[in-house]
């Protein structure tokens, strides 16, 4: 599905953000990318859709080498890679609907997008996605009128409108409260399961990463230092990624969180069966 080979990025300032990063993601896998600030997590996911130009290495999406595509081909590749951003990155003065439809920009011509005359199928799909993320009645509001959690749902709908083969997710919960963070992560994972979508989630909350991803990659100073299932993320591994810290305390908090989460889900299930 997605294959990354020897990816490296050195910024003009001489900062080495990534060196020799390689991994594969099969279809449907949710990959949590963890690491301290400045480890290169953001750079890595931006190299995949070339918002940042990698210096060395290859990114292969279904055997298509993204790293040496030219402008037009790059646009066609980008439209199949959905991206969800930290702090939502919605165009605030556009309506929710326009934000979702902007996911179709790679597919429609300029005049159609300029006049907001999208094909009927795109509009129906946009409504379906808004319904999926529970924002059907907010379609005509301006994006800046929504709350943080709602905005991130619009961000998810926009990414899905692209009809993506891969989701890149950059700190989806960075500016959300713990409860909303969990809801958003759950929604993302559910959607990935529904569609068999692979996703790379760049996240600094280790507990959330372990709870929601199938596999964890730990970056440290631009290198992969851990790659394995969440269950193998031992204290030693965490120390390798982040440096020494009292991990048991964090784990205890995490267990409590997980218990609360399970309780919440049980309650939701009870309500569903009652209906």
């Amino acid at each position: 599905m997605l294959k990354i080979e020897g990816l490296g990025k050195t910024y003009k300032t001489g900062d080495k953000a990534l060196s020799d990063v390689s991994f594969d993601i099969p279809k449907g896998e949710v990959l949590g990318l963890i690491g301290p600030s400045g480890a290169g997590k953001s750079t890595l996911i931006r190299c995949i859709n070339r918002l940042v130009q990698p210096t060395t290495g290859k990114v292969l999406l279904n055997d298509l080498n993204i790293t040496d595509l030219r402008t037009g081909e790059l646009r066609r590749a980008r439209r199949r890679i959905g991206m969800i951003f930290q702090e939502y990155a919605l165009v605030e003065r556009l309506t929710v609907m326009e934000n979702v439809l902007s996911g179709r920009l790679g597919y429609v011509g300029f005049w159609r997008s300029f006049l907001r005359k999208y094909p009927a199928a795109d509009i129906a799909n946009a409504y379906r996605l808004l319904d999926r993320v529970g924002l059907m009645q907010h379609a005509d509001k301006r994006a800046d009128a929504l709350s943080g959690g709602q905005r991130q749902r619009v961000g998810i709908a926009r990414a899905l409108a692209q009809d993506p083969e891969l989701l890149l997710i950059d700190e989806p919960t960075a500016s959300l409260d713990p409860k909303t963070s969990r809801q958003i992560m759950r929604l993302i994972v559910e959607i990935c399961r529904e569609r068999g979508l692979p996703a790379i989630i760049n996240i600094h909350d280790v507990v959330l990463a372990q709870q929601f991803s199938d596999r964890i990659i730990g970056l440290q100073a631009g290198r992969v230092v851990f790659d394995g299932p969440p269950s193998e993320l031992s204290e030693d591994a965490l120390t390798l990624i982040y440096g020494a810290e009292d991990w048991t305390a964090m784990r205890k908090g995490a267990d409590e969180d997980a218990a609360a989460e399970a309780e919440e889900q049980a309650e939701a299930a009870k309500m569903m069966s009652a209906l």
Binding site: R79, M83, E87, E92, R93, E98, S102, L105, G106, F110
Partner: protein, 268 residues
Amino acid sequence: MSHMAYPTQWRRPPMMVKSRFWRIALTLGAIVYLLLAFSTIEVNYARVIEGLSRAQRFVAGFLQPDFTSRSRDIWIGIGESLTMTFTSTVVGVLISIPIGLGAARNIAPRLVYLVCRSIIAVSRSLQEIIIAIFFVALFGFGAFAGFLTLSFATIGFIGKLLAEEIEDIDEKQAEAIRATGASWVQLVNYGIQPQVMPRLIGLSLYRLDINFRESAVIGIVGAGGIGGTLNTALGRYEYDTAGAILLIIIAIVMVAEYSSGYLRRFLK
């Protein structure tokens, strides 16, 4: 115990000039230069007193403005000025949009950026009166020269401020649009236009009222409009008519200022 050791006084450290000697030297130097500069202003008091009587007539003209005897000229002048103002603002803004886009470092290629920045620099470095003299020489007296002058000046003004506004946008919103596979024009339409539109409209309204004021000034060098009428009145020593014209200009500027401020309040 240790809290006894903390200092009880604090002074803001100097931010610009670190050395005490240079701080004092620069301050003294500035004061001395200011005194010297004032001492070179020559005032011819005899001439000032002579001019007072003329000023008195000028003020008297204001107090008894004559709107009627030259009313035809005044209305033609104002009509011309308003037409000039409106057309030149529309044309100027339309031209300055592509130039402003090209002059924004974050979205334009380097070469386009340099070309657009130089157009803006030329437009801004030449004062309206100088451009007006040039266009009057090229196209003769009248409103057409005035229209060209104001359009040209508008390009520099709107182009520069629009480019700066584009450089200041929230890059994340634009990045998100770029990530969907949008083309450059789509990026401008979806990622940038919504962010700069309120400012562009506000600036255009502001420029509209600047252009009206300028139209009164450039008329004096022959570029048509109310300025021409004003110049003629002053030349004939008809201070009462001149007073009437100035009052009308002030009234129109105030109306324009108030209504553009009112409109801008709705933009967010």
